[in-house]
Symmetry: C2
Subunit: 414 residues, 2 copies
């Protein structure tokens, strides 16, 4: 099948899937979880081929670890599907409405988006996650995974598709693109009228390529140049704990901190100890002039540093005049993901939360909380950094749209 | 200024505008309405230049009428701005939130999108409408109007901008692109990071060009291939009234009807009289075989007809086996705008409303009601035919996004 044919099949399936009951969708999700475990041997064998190819290509250890599947990881994927089954079904929720003066009733009802394209990189667990969330929200899904995981993903998608269809999900609702050709992506992201939205998940490069070349709607996810600003007179112990957590707990993820901004009034009392604590955790400081003067091991920050998502243990550090300069810096260099102020000042917290343009703006807490599970959504398909449709952690409702049902008894427009 | 410089100015202004109080925004809208009337002479003189150029280019009478401004039309535009002032301010509404187990409070608050680009054609009233709605919803706006109305639009935008800034709106919040070069559109729709969304308003050709070439998010509006399906045993007098209204009241607009679908069981009793009534209203029938056999004046419909938004008094007519075939036809040829069933059957109405994939699905009422004012929204920036972000009539809330404000007392992620 061509990719257009796959999309046509998905679009036809999506219309039927929109009307499938929650009971059948949940039965399918449970069956899919069972199938992952039942077909474990085949899945691990497929994964072994990808691992072998990865090693042959001298793939980095961290990437190989992302690629690796084990019994335990498959069990986690299966658990994930069962958790999705347990979530509230978003489809059919009445989210508004009214009766007009002329007697027409207008009902605003939540419905699936239709066909969702997911473009992702080396993590095979995304295959199961994305299929589970799209299915629960009544959407057909077309998956395009990275070539590194092609054997694992092809097998997982086939296992899940078979189990879903067996449980009553319309045939064609789950599509996996087996071509590893880059042209496949280009075709997928220009299938207007067949694909309702594409969500790229992965590196900034991948996301920018999709955003730049798509003609179907895209939800931009993930890139996070996140800041923490420490105000003068803040609780400096609290600031230190938040910063160590935001920077070092898991430096590779998008809600980790990349830049520390420090009020000039906090420099003397707070900064030397903070830099020391960071260095003890293995953090490489990249500072402005004040910071470099204070710490001889710090590297001088360039203009590019302020806009860089390091994704590792590097941290840029800058001293600012006041909250306004911190806000200005963040609005200039941030990626509208997650930003934090540590302060005792009610007025500064209020101003920071109002004026910083980002999906999640924190006062006195780590940016690492930006996550669908942490927010209590029970799921996450990604973290949107654009403003259209969804912002911040996206869960099931963010995979839906709505329509208006208007009922009358012969009304015509005067 | 280049278009990028205009966008940078708009983005800087947008950050300030997001925090401007409702009182100042409303004062500005009233002042803008006053200014339209006070500067009437200059605006009408600018419009006269456009009208002259239009006539010299042999512009169609209907287009010249759209282009024409009069005292009465300016008064309507001013009234429109005052009506927008009177609407509820969407910015700052708390639309969700919770307190997490760890004590973090999460508040989901409605905020402006930021910078909205509006690309439109010959109607100068769109200039005032769009500026008013964007301003009220706290967004900076960049307008790119059609070359036919360049003098009128330039003048209106200048008058409104001056009045708004005088009333306290941040300078740069209202940008008008004076270049009539097509490259200006291309630049505007690829200013990622500066422009948050582009809304094209006008012909299908304009909209498709924007959708196909934009890298910033787009909201697709307006194209409507709307159907009315008459079920067997429906109240045929009601069906006739709805169809005459949907087709003939204002055939040029997007919520007007383009295709009539008739259940085979309704053909004998309903169709001859219906066709006669349509023809008396000047409607040209383009029918399938059954219809052409019944009406010798009907033209035979081609495959292309079923997908055509005539925008005039042509109507395609097809006989279908049942509700399922009607739904299938609509989902194949419709543009997801507005669709109607006329029926006495509860089950068929329910199935039609559930299975038809469109922004507005009617039972027993004219599709002409798809309109922000008719729906009681008090405003309309366009009718979205895509599923992402907003669907159907878009008013003030649809010009906003949200952010999460998270407040704590030192929480870090375990």
């Amino acid at each position: 099948m061509t990719i257009r044919e796959q999309a046509m099949e998905a679009a036809a399936a999506a219309r039927k899937l929109a009307a499938v009951s929650p009971a059948i969708k949940n039965k399918a999700l449970e069956a899919m979880a069972d199938a992952l475990l039942a077909e474990q041997e085949g899945i691990l064998a497929s994964n072994a081929k990808d691992m072998e190819a990865g090693k042959a290509k001298n793939m980095k250890a961290s990437l190989l670890d992302r690629l690796l599947l084990t019994s335990a990881r498959l069990a986690d994927m299966a658990d994930g599907l069962r958790q999705v089954a347990a979530l509230k079904d978003p489809v059919g929720e009445i989210i508004g409405g009214c009766t007009l003066a002329n007697g027409l009733t207008v009902t605003k009802i939540r419905v699936p988006l239709g066909v969702i394209g997911i473009i992702y990189e080396a993590r095979p667990n995304v295959t199961a996650d994305a299929i589970g969330l799209c299915l629960k929200s009544g959407n057909a899904v077309i998956l395009k995974g990275g070539s590194e995981a092609i054997h694992s993903n092809t097998k997982i998608a086939a296992v899940l598709r078979a189990a879903a269809e067996e449980a009553g999900i319309p045939a064609g609702s789950i599509q996996f693109i087996t071509s590893t050709d880059h042209a496949a992506v280009q075709e997928l992201i220009t299938l207007n009228g067949l694909v309702d939205v594409v969500i790229p998940r992965g590196s900034g490069r991948l996301i920018q390529a999709v955003v730049g070349n798509a003609s179907v709607p895209v939800i931009e996810t993930g890139v996070g140049v996140c800041h923490t600003f420490v105000d003068a007179g803040a609780d400096y112990a609290m600031a230190e704990a938040i910063i160590i957590n935001a920077k070092t707990q898991r430096p590779g993820v998008c809600n980790a901190m990349e830049t520390l901004l420090v009020h000039k009034g906090a420099v003397q009392e707070f900064l030397p100890h903070m830099l020391q604590a960071l260095k003890e955790k293995g953090v490489q400081i990249i500072g402005d002039e004040t910071v470099c003067a204070m710490d001889k091991e710090a590297l001088p920050a360039t203009e590019e540093d302020w806009a860089t998502e390091y994704g590792d243990l590097r941290l840029s550090v800058k001293v600012v005049e006041n909250t306004d300069e911190a806000i200005e810096h963040i609005n200039k260099y941030g990626t509208k993901h997650s930003e934090c102020i540590v302060t005792r000042s009610f007025a500064n917290a209020r101003k920071f939360q109002q004026m910083v343009d980002a999906a999640c703006v924190y006062a006195n807490a780590s940016t690492r909380f930006t996550d669908g599970f942490q927010f209590g959504f029970g799921a996450e398909i990604g973290i949107s950094t654009q403003k259209l449709h969804a912002r911040g952690p996206m869960a099931l409702p963010e995979l839906t749209t709505y329509k208006y049902l208007i009922s009358g008894d012969g009304q015509v427009r005067p």
